[in-house]
């Protein structure tokens, strides 16, 4: 039992800066296998088990305020990817005092907004202009800023890369799901003679997020119970 308890700690140390030396036991092949396993775990945590939106309650405004059409979801997901990946990687490489880090992350995010906006404008001009303030606010997205401030500086590049990709995938999964449901709802209401874009109001986003968060919480509880049973 005690060895089982120690194992996850050693695995997480592997992905921390300077932790590889202390947790490096076994051959290169074993190490490589552990790295792959850990990376997959980090990615899956961002995508499902510790989803930044539904479980971490981060970056809610794009989902709640703008995630009501699939086009909006596509633009915001693309912008998330283009901004988050370089911001987190660069934050991980920079060695600056903790209190300066949030400002550096914000400046990086602002700089990376420019190529993200240009790309989104070029690929989906109508959807980008329809986003108005929500596209600009991606600079201050709390998923990007919190991962760049808290996670990236203490983890190795591979972990930061997988975490950024996982969080982007998790964000995209939630926003696409919410947008699909809201679009269906809007169409049903419109076809039955109701108001136009009925699913676009923020409260619909909050209510749907509540249901999605409950679903993930239920899955996590079942997973934990199955793991306990297996032990």
């Amino acid at each position: 039992m005690s060895s089982n308890k120690k194992k996850p700690k050693a695995e997480s140390q592997l992905m921390e800066k300077g932790g590889r030396r202390s947790s490096a036991r076994g051959s290169k092949k074993t190490m490589h296998k552990r790295l792959i396993k850990e990376s997959t775990g980090i990615f899956l945590n961002g995508l499902v088990f510790r989803n930044p939106v539904a479980i971490g309650a981060l970056g809610l405004f794009p989902v709640v305020g703008a995630g009501y059409t699939m086009q909006n979801a596509a633009v915001l997901s693309l912008m998330m990817l283009v901004i988050m990946l370089p911001v987190c990687l660069l934050s991980g490489w920079m060695k600056i005092p903790v209190w300066i880090r949030p400002a550096a992350a914000l400046v990086l995010s602002g700089v990376m907004y420019l190529p993200a906006a240009a790309l989104a404008k070029w690929l989906m001009p109508q959807a980008f202009s329809a986003l108005s303030i929500y596209a600009v606010l991606m600079i201050g997205n709390s998923i990007i800023l919190s991962r760049a401030n808290d996670y990236a500086p203490s983890h190795i590049t591979l972990a930061v890369l997988m975490d950024s990709l996982g969080c982007t995938a998790g964000f995209s999964a939630v926003i696409f799901l919410v947008a699909a449901l809201r679009e269906i709802w809007s169409n049903i209401v419109k076809d039955t003679g109701g108001v136009y874009h009925a699913g676009a109001y923020p409260f619909v986003g909050f209510l749907l997020l509540g249901v999605i968060a409950a679903l993930i919480q239920h899955t996590n509880a079942k997973r934990a119970a199955a793991e306990r049973k297996a032990k």
Partner: protein, 194 residues
Amino acid sequence: MAVQLFFYAILALTAQNVIFCGGVGFSRVLRAARRPKILLSYAGLLSAFTLISAWMGIALNQLVPGISPAAFYRPAIFAGCVAVVYLLAALLYRMFFAARYKRLEPVFSSSAINCIVLAMPFIQRVFRMTGWQITGYAIGTGAAFFTAALVLSHAMERLKNPDMPKAFQGLPSVFLYVGILSMALFGFAGGKLF
């Protein structure tokens, strides 16, 4: 002027509430609600930064008008300005109010760098607000942040009720609760904010 200031502050609390009607800054509200002991200081700091951001927005919108080719770079320039303001404020606090800074350190950066603060110049431009109007709006937004966090901090304990289905305990029920509150404020707005 005072009437405009008051009117726009009320507007920011009700019909144009960026938190409930726009969904902006909600993750910060949740974090503030989890720290009831420093909630007032957190909201005070956020209001101050929102006010500074609103005034910087006026200057920025005059320096870089929407029709100029440089308008595309405006969000990045503004992010840089907010970063500088945060650094100056943090430096000031570290030098002169070290004890207070230590107490507020966990929330200091998040009260300066968040979507509510970043949204101000764009709100001013979109709604074509004058100096007094955006000042009132910024004050009202700070009050709206405090009210939302206060309401949630009281609700959070009740939303852990063990009689509730396990899957809905905690954050899922917070989302549903906020959804219902947002629906109530939607009655004031009558439509989407942005």
